[in-house]
């Protein structure tokens, strides 16, 4: 049964964007799926066969309790057990910067999924630049709310860094979207103005 759209809490903007772009009836692996918010929407509204991988036990329990198929595991370790091309999409939302080897994780995503959605907070957003330039301090912002010593974000990345990695590895960009203040923003100057980036890649 499909639940009416209004009944669910609003998705985080990068997830809402992905949810819009996903083709109905496909298979999707959400790596770092949290409590399964994106998976639940895709299951209920687009009949997507969604599976998840999540590090935090409480999040996994919450996701399984809402009827989703989620495995507790580590993106850095456990992706190798998924067969190649077993999903239409692999999703990595706001998780890239927390992995030990982001390049290898994206490579795994593109092995497992035909396409991969990758979203991350842009460390080169002007607010962060100001904080470093004028304050001389690591930025603590709405999207990067934790101090340097507690943040799980161990690989800070900018939009231009990510584009360089994509070029270097020879991956293709099928789509790219930029968010500022939860709204889509222009491609021009994205590395300066966007708080958030969403890329759709393929090998």
């Amino acid at each position: 049964m499909t639940r009416p759209l209004q009944s669910r809490p609003a998705l985080r903007p990068d997830l809402a964007l992905m949810a819009r772009m996903v083709t109905p009836g496909t298979r999707l692996l959400d790596v770092g799926c949290g409590d399964g918010a994106l998976m639940a929407v895709l299951r209920d509204e687009k009949q997507v066969d969604a599976r998840g991988l999540e590090l935090d036990a409480a999040n996994v329990a919450a996701a399984v309790a809402r009827g989703l198929s989620v495995v507790q595991g580590d993106a850095d370790i456990d992706l190798g057990h998924y067969p190649a091309a077993s999903f239409d999409y692999a999703v990595l939302s706001q998780t890239l910067q927390t992995t030990r080897r982001p390049d290898q994780v994206v490579d795994e995503l593109l092995r497992i999924g035909r396409q991969a959605f990758v979203s991350f907070p842009n460390f080169a957003h002007w607010r962060g630049r100001l904080s470093l330039l004028w304050g001389g301090r690591m930025p603590v912002t709405r999207l990067l709310p934790e101090s340097w010593y507690v943040t799980p974000n161990i690989h800070h990345v900018t939009i231009d860094d990510f584009r360089a990695l994509v070029r270097e590895r020879g991956w293709s960009i099928d789509g790219q979207w930029f968010l500022s203040g939860d709204k889509e923003t222009t491609h021009a100057g994205a590395n300066f103005f966007a708080e958030h980036a969403v890329f759709l890649l393929r090998r």
Binding site: A57, A61, V64, G67, D78, H81
Partner: protein, 381 residues
Amino acid sequence: MVSAPPMIDDRHGPARKVRLAGPLPLDSGAMLAPVEIAYETYGHLNAAGDNAILVCHALTGDQYVASTHPMTGKPGWWWRMVGPDKPIDPARHFIICANVLGSCMGSSGPASIDAATGHQYAMRFPVITVGDMVRAQAMLLDHLGVGRLAAVVGGSMGGMQALAWPTLFPDRMRSVLAIATAARHSAQNIAFHEVGRQAIMADPHWAGGDYYGGEPPSAGLAVARMAAHITYLSEAGLTEKFGRRLQGRDEKTFGFDADFQVESYLRHQGLSFVDRFDANSYLYITRAMDYFDLAEDGAGEGGLARAFGRTRARFCLVSFDTDWLYPTAESRAIVHALNAAGAEASFVELASPFGHDAFLLDTPDLLRVADGFLRAGESAV
């Protein structure tokens, strides 16, 4: 939903027993006939016949999953999981729990009469496996008119049966919920069981298994239970519950009484166990668990993935962080194999102070996970 008239007949209900003609071909090559199975059912099979859940019990468990035990007077062993408004609910499900083959609560086992001789089988009962237990359960489902299960559910050895089900009958269940379990018995698991078996066999009353009608090997069985019971708890749990506290005394006695509370507790566990369990059954069932290895036809994960390759069932595995008998790594290996096989799988390691026994005790997250997993299987058939 239109409620169809429930199908009721004398095959369904609590405290049932059936004698099936068989024969049941066993993994050892032997044939077992007839096959007696003691079981309970709760709830009603719906008109579509798609709401049946098979609950599988652990080593020393029985069919009294949610009803008062006739010998101990205690509530059913999984009353937290099975019952009104529980994840497995007789209002929604037709619930079946059968005493496993080899056990001693009414199903065929070493204490049963061998039709060929008119005497108890004792050690002449054929050695059985977890797969044999599952095949016997399938015979029972045939008898009950249950085709495809909504779910097969179990913890510990019950989880082994739940995992064996889709490898033997790939199309006969929608969902598999396996808790605190493993796809094979480790060397450590086998070692602990061997200690228990040797304790039983070293008891002079064991008499090669032919003690029926005489004094049973209670001392040996009690020691076996004591050793096993330690493996069901966590070190932290034992420390919290007993520490080094003395039992009913202020000073050490400089003797070999149960000075410590933990000694007294274990002795009580051992003594109360022998009143309800048959020593030969303990030998046979621990043997079945030791022989358990779903990946037997191929080493490691590849073999395990092949074992799950034919099923379309959805799986949920749960482990507990303090369970050192079937640690999380065992569940993770199963999940890796399920992922490799492309099966729909969930897995979570839950926090609990209770060690392996957490699946039986107050673990609210387990109930939430089980409920969500089972309901999702019911809504998407």
